[in-house]
């Protein structure tokens, strides 16, 4: 670099000649040089600032663009997370004890309309009315012409219907995928399964929620994604349930009964193997509940778990059990049956006159109201209440059905001595057939309290508290066996299965507060085999009448008992029970006869 001198000799000399101060020249040159340096520095600083600002601008633009992209992009699930969870249906299956499917899911479609996309509204309305007979073309057209932009037409449609709607060729008719609940076996366990419906609905999916039965009770479990579609296993047995439903339905028709209910329960564990209430319904197409009248007239009503009936003489077993357990009587003790038994203005009578006295066994076998009432008097109201409470007859059955947990037995408002006497033979206290089955199981299985359940317990369930002694339980079983062999339930004998049981026929209460004469609830509570109790069966018929004889017969011995016997005949082999025949020759005879 060439530096310009601050004091050029030529300028200094000429200045000296002119008598000027040469320092001025130096100052002038210095100023110029400084200015040059300043200009250069400024330029450099400016260019640096420019580069820096460009760099910052680029960086900010990158950040800004990225933010913009994130803001405008559709949210997407991160890839890696999606594969951790297995693909599962929205709602888990329900299966029976053998793994047969009771409830599952099916993919279908829903149909909706977007009128503003429609081309030919009248023909679309006409076409839809043709595909779906329950839709009206006129109403549809009115809806399409309204200002609405979105109209639900059908919740669930079949593939055939979907194709038919496609064939209409209207772009304004659209489909949304739907998962629907399917009960492949139809009505067969309607009251237990309940039913499902749609909860919150969107275009692309809808919540499937349980409405009643185990679907409602186990809604959270069935919908829990953490369970990964693990099915809910019930203790029901599909084939037993189907056979029982068929036999009970046949019996109900033959005896012109209004309704019927049956519960088959394992005596030791309380597992419900089959439970039928007739009339029933198809859970795939659940009827709407009645808004007026008696709820029990609806097929939705579960007579086995919800229906509270005075179950009549079946309650005598409880009185006899308590008398035995308290040591008030032995099976041979003679009980006073002199009638009629008066209490105030009420009098208690027997179906037949049984003379002065009967042994305790015969009181049960012949079903003497007077004898039982006398026993109950001796037991006393307090002890009777405590005993019935221990048997679970004072509270709803803790079965896993929302309907069962609402049915609290009807007790007398004031428990007088008369109540004690009438309740001893099953009048004045209304309970469900399920209550009865649980109480019978508790008394007959050796004396341990049984809690009915529909869900197979994981591992060994703990035994309930003791209700009666082992000996009492044994005596009760032999008494019930005698009821079948020589008592009121003689039609209940099923070769090879040693049925024991107690009949009960109770007049139905009428609207006026009295009892209807011609309307009875007839019940048969049974245990088989009586010497080694495995199963408890309770059959209840609502207003049955047997018209095969010369006069109509309504007692349980003629109605509920034969139906129960047929149920045992059909279901016991299905449960894998071998008939126990005392004489092998008899067995051979049976087989050769067949």
């Amino acid at each position: 670099m060439i530096r310009t001198p601050l004091r050029p000799l030529a300028s200094v000399l000429s200045a000296r000649e002119k008598g000027e101060n040469p320092d001025l020249i130096e100052a002038e040159n210095l100023r110029r040089r400084n200015e040059d340096v300043r200009d250069r520095d400024r330029l450099r600083a400016e260019s640096r600032l420019l580069v820096l600002s460009l760099a910052f601008m680029a960086a900010f633009m990158v950040v800004g663009m990225r933010m913009g992209m994130l803001a405008s992009a559709d949210p997407v699930e991160p890839h890696e997370d999606r594969y951790a969870s297995a693909l599962a249906a929205q709602r888990a299956d329900i299966i029976d004890i053998n793994g047969a499917i009771l409830a599952t899911n099916l993919i279908t479609n829903s149909l909706y309309a977007q009128p503003h996309l429609m081309i030919d509204k009248p023909s679309a309305a006409a076409g839809l009315a043709q595909v779906f007979p329950d839709l009206n073309a006129q109403d549809l057209l009115e809806q399409f012409n309204s200002s609405r932009k979105f109209i639900w037409l059908k919740r669930k449609i079949s593939p055939e219907q979907m194709q038919a709607v496609h064939d209409i060729g209207e772009p304004g008719l659209q489909f949304g995928p739907r998962e629907m609940r399917l009960y492949p076996n139809g009505a067969f366990a309607a009251h237990i399964l309940g039913g499902a419906g749609f909860g919150r609905e969107g275009v692309h999916s809808a919540e499937v929620i349980g409405i009643a039965g185990v679907e409602h009770r186990y809604d959270a479990f069935l919908r829990n994604p953490a369970e990964q579609g693990r099915p809910l296993q019930l203790t029901l047995d599909l084939s037993v349930q189907a056979a029982m439903r068929r036999v009970l339905g046949g019996g109900m028709r033959l005896l012109s009964a209004k309704g019927a209910a049956a519960v088959l329960m394992e005596a030791n564990t309380g597992e419900v193997i089959a439970m039928v209430s007739l009339p029933d319904f198809d859970p795939n197409d659940r009827p709407t509940p009645l808004t007026k009248g008696d709820a029990s007239d609806s097929p939705l009503f579960n007579r086995a778990a919800q229906g509270l009936y005075e179950l009549g003489s079946t309650f005598k077993l409880f009185t006899v059990a308590q008398a035995l357990d308290l040591g008030i009587a032995t099976p041979e003790t003679m009980i006073d049956t002199q009638g009629p038994l008066k209490w105030g203005k009420f009098s208690i009578r027997d179906f037949h006159d049984y003379g002065k006295s009967l042994s305790l066994t015969d009181v049960l076998v012949k079903s003497s109201n007077i004898g039982t009432a006398n026993l109950a008097r001796e037991i006393g109201a307090g002890q009777q209440q405590a005993f019935l409470d221990a048997l679970g007859l004072f509270s709803p059955v803790p079965l896993e059905l929302p309907e069962a947990s609402q049915s609290r037995p009807l007790l007398p408002k004031r428990w007088s001595e008369l109540s004690t006497m009438t309740i001893s033979y099953g009048h004045g206290l209304a309970a469900s057939p399920l209550h009865l089955a649980a109480a019978y199981a508790s008394l007959l299985n050796g004396g341990y309290r049984v809690t009915p359940t529909l869900i197979k317990p994981s591992g060994d369930a703990a035994r309930g508290p003791r209700i009666v002694s082992e000996d009492t339980s044994k005596i009760l079983r032999s008494m019930l066996r005698q009821v079948v062999v020589r008592g009121t339930a003689s039609m209940g004998e099923v070769a090879g299965y040693h049925v024991g049981g107690k009949t009960g026929s109770a007049d139905k209460p009428d609207a006026k507060g009295g009892y209807a004469k011609e309307k009875v609830i007839s019940t048969f509570a049974s245990v088989f085999p009586a010497h080694d109790p495995k199963y408890i069966l309770v059959v209840t018929l609502d207003e049955p009448v047997d018209t095969t004889g010369t006069e109509p017969r309504r007692t349980a011995g003629w109605t509920a008992v034969p139906v129960a016997a047929e149920i045992i005949r059909r279901t016991a082999p299905l449960l894998g029970m071998r008939p126990e025949i005392d004489h092998p020759d008899e067995m051979k005879y049976m087989l050769s006869n067949y």
Binding site: L87, A100, I101, P579
Partner: protein
């Protein structure tokens, strides 16, 4: 020397960038494939569910009973009852399926002719 290091570093960066680029695309391809497979699994599960539902529907007790009734002549199925349980001694000992080693020989052609009279004679 310094220039060589610079050049090598630059080459290394290019190589690594190429590798990372490849890995990126390979990963994306794998993810897409997993996506497709998941979709296929989902479809198959859906189909399986439909088939299971159909199987359960076809095996519903009512239908099976009706079918058993309809085909009673060929199948001979009836509701299980207690008489269907047998005793062990009633079960015949299974016959041994051995070849006929005795080799029967027709000793007399006349005998078989006697047993099967000519058709013309048999008709009245």
């Amino acid at each position: 020397m310094r220039g060589l290091i610079y050049a090598l570093a630059a080459l290394a960066i290019i190589a690594l960038a190429y590798w990372a680029y490849n890995e990126n695309y390979a990963t994306q391809a794998a993810l897409r494939r997993v996506d497709t497979l998941q979709q296929q699994i989902g479809d198959q599960r859906e189909k399986l569910g439909v088939l299971r539902a159909e199987w359960a529907y076809l095996n519903r007790p009512d239908r099976l009973r009706e079918l058993a009734d309809l085909n009673y002549l060929t199948l001979g199925l009836m509701p299980l009852t207690s008489v269907h349980f047998g005793l062990t001694e009633q079960v015949a000992f299974p016959q041994l399926d051995v070849n006929d080693i005795t080799g029967p020989v027709d000793l007399s052609a006349d005998l078989s002719a006697d047993l099967e009279p000519p058709l013309a004679e048999a008709k009245p």
